[in-house]
Amino acid sequence: MIELVVRDRCTGCGRCVRVCPTNVFDFVDGRPVIARQDDCQTCFMCELYCPVDALYVAPNAERPTPVDEQTIVASGLLGEYRRNSGWDEWRDIPNLFWRQGEIFARARSRAPGPSAQDTASKLSSTEAVEIAEWPPRS
């Protein structure tokens, strides 16, 4: 869940308020405030859209897990997700999503179960990638 708006990074641009799919923030005196934390779905979208990396979403989606602001700022975790995603000024960071199929295909070709072996032997690697869902059959 969203845990932190780092005050001295936030410029009050209001993008997080607008883009949060579950309307977690309110805009109060020109600053975003976490008003409905219970509604946070821990999707990290606000972090992607925050151009100054002022937001921190904790990985626990079930309950609040308060964090220490100084610790988080020092951790280097702020903005890491946005950078790895290649957003904004990080556009040179490659988006390798198109290679996700390799994960499935290589797992399938190694998995010891008979159904996986059958699948791997019947399909070419391209077709195996096209399944792109694991497990491939149910």
Partner: protein
């Protein structure tokens, strides 16, 4: 053609937004994004409303679809379709599979001006897999450029109907304007692209997916189909919503005593995990992941990596606790029944696209997974958008004709509104979660347990119908609770009436398939839920 788009005079706008448009799209996810652009390019004025933000809302924005992607080589297409027909358990239609393969292949590359499709070392451009946030950002920009008017943070509450039963528009609330400003949009056609219903399971990105479109559609006269196929599950790090699960292809799972669970190579491995989770905690490690893949996962699924980093867990060397999140009708199948090739529902002018529509036509009784469902969302969005624009061109918005608001549950309580509160809506949502999320109820189904759940859900519905209401933004929570309770009853009502096991619908008390039931099952009804197998004349009432 003449476009119809107008906003009412400024005085009224202060407390109520009124507009007239050719086509209204409800929902700004993968399906709604393609639908809106297709309608606008078809010459229609288009308004798209989203509960949250067109770009971050829904299960695609937070994930990344690899579309069903087969080159237009007849033998390859035939093989892919034959493969899927083989696990559809008699409920799919090969013609529809052919249609979505063709439409997806021809359409996805047209997004090139807005999405940077990667080129590999051989010069081949890779179209089929797109990362979610970038995909939705591209769809938004494409829609904006096509002239679509976007209203974010503007959940729809109900549909409007003409006297002849055709759709006339919708109403909703702009939840970031004051304490909620009502919007009323008259339209010649409405496309429901509201997503599936994940019953608040914490499936990534599904918080808004509360079955709103199902409830709005049924209130307007539409039917649902395939709602019993609503129990696909996905693995996630315990206490997280991180259901990006590709990396679990290399997972080994253990019980609390450290015993390796027999999941490897098994197609039903989530059922193995669910049985183990009913006994106690389950742990995983991704230690078998090849080193070169570990290095690029942060560039494939950065949110997956972020979740582990923030928990301080190295999934490749440590064991970590896992859970399973139900997907409901997201990677399930059920949704509004489609009656024609343009994805129209039984209500004239009302279309359903993406997970709001039943995916039995392309997936049968087995999850279409990310790839078939994405191809479906794109294709159904495109077709419904094109036909909605054509329809609006024929009829115009008919905005001067009288129209009726058809929303009931959570909007207009049948008895005294006992001044419903946010707490009431929360309690109702909890009831739904208590019945739809436990693995022993939803995965390992049994007639007696389904009937027990239905009895509790019927009582919840009585409460919704008689008392639940809310003003402004509270109306949104009330309608979500109503839609969740309704969707739960349709799902379990259909599951109780399908007295066999087929695809993802597995009944412990009827473990075999019954060849006489190799048919789609329709479901609907509000105060009383009915079901009807396709081909039967009579509806059957669901009795707990």
């Amino acid at each position: 053609m003449q476009k119809h788009f107008a906003v009412a005079d400024a005085d009224k706008v202060a407390y109520r937004l009124e507009a007239v448009t050719d086509v209204l799209v409800v929902g700004g996810g993968l399906a709604g994004g393609w639908a809106a652009t297709a309608a606008a390019r078809g010459g229609a004025s288009v308004v798209l409303v989203d509960k949250g933000y067109f770009g971050t809302s829904g299960v695609t924005a937070t994930a990344g679809p690899g579309h069903w992607w087969v080159p237009p080589d007849p033998s390859k297409r035939a093989a892919a379709i034959e493969d899927r027909m083989g696990r559809a358990f008699g409920l799919a239609d090969s013609r529809w599979m052919e249609r979505i393969l063709d439409t997806t292949w021809r359409t996805l590359p047209t997004l090139s001006p807005y999405y940077d499709f990667p080129k590999d070392a051989t010069g081949e451009v890779h179209y089929r897999g797109l990362r979610g946030p970038e995909y939705l950002r591209a769809l938004r920009k494409q829609a904006e450029d096509a002239g679509v008017v976007i209203l974010d943070q503007s959940p729809a509450l109900q549909l409007l109907l003409h006297r002849d039963g055709s759709v006339a528009g919708a109403t909703g609330v702009q939840r970031q304007v004051g304490r909620g400003r009502i919007w009323v949009i008259r339209a010649g056609a409405v496309i429901l692209a509201t997503g599936g219903c994940a019953f608040r399971s914490r499936l990534l990105g599904s918080h808004n997916n509360t079955g709103d479109g199902y409830l709005m559609g049924v209130e307007a006269g539409a039917e649902l189909s395939g709602m019993e196929f609503s129990n696909y599950h996905t693995v996630a790090l315990a206490e997280s919503s991180q259901t990006r699960s590709a990396s679990y292809s290399f997972a080994d799972f253990f019980d609390a005593e450290g015993n390796l669970l027999p999941t490897q190579g098994r197609t039903d491995y989530t059922r193995v995990l669910a049985r183990a989770l009913l006994r106690g905690p389950v742990y995983a490690t991704l230690a078998r992941t090849p080193l070169d893949l570990r290095e690029i996962v942060s560039h494939i699924q950065p949110a997956f990596v972020a979740t582990f980093r923030r928990r301080g867990i190295d999934p490749y060397t440590e064991k970590f606790e896992i859970t399973l999140h139900g997907e409901g009708t997201v990677r399930g199948i059920g949704g509004l029944r489609i009656v024609d090739d343009a994805c129209q529902t039984a209500v004239p002018g009302l279309f359903a696209a993406g997970d709001a529509a039943s995916r039995e036509l392309i997936a049968g009784a087995t999850s279409g997974g990310g790839n078939q469902n994405s191809a479906w969302a794109l294709s159904s969005g495109l077709w419904s958008g094109q036909e909605a624009a054509a329809r609006a061109r024929r009829t115009g918005p008919r905005a001067t004709e009288p129209a009726t608001e058809v929303g009931q549950a959570g909007l207009r309580p049948a008895k005294s509104p006992k001044s419903a509160t946010a707490a009431d809506a929360r309690a109702l949502v909890q009831t739904v979660k208590d019945e739809l999320l436990p693995y022993d109820k939803v995965m390992f189904r049994r007639g007696d347990r389904l009937r027990d759940s239905l009895a509790r859900l019927d009582r919840a519905w009585d409460d919704v119908r008689d008392h639940l209401a809310g003003e402004g933004t509270a109306a949104v929570a009330a309608r979500e609770a109503a839609a969740l309770v309704a969707s739960a009853r349709w799902s379990y009502g259909a599951a109780a009436a399908r007295k066999e096991s087929r695809g993802m619908h597995q009944r412990e008390d009827c473990p075999d398939s019954d060849s006489r039931l190799a048919r789609r099952q329709l479901v609907g009804g509000l105060d009383r839920v009915w079901t009807r197998f396709d081909g039967d004349a009579e509806r059957t009432w669901v009795r707990p």
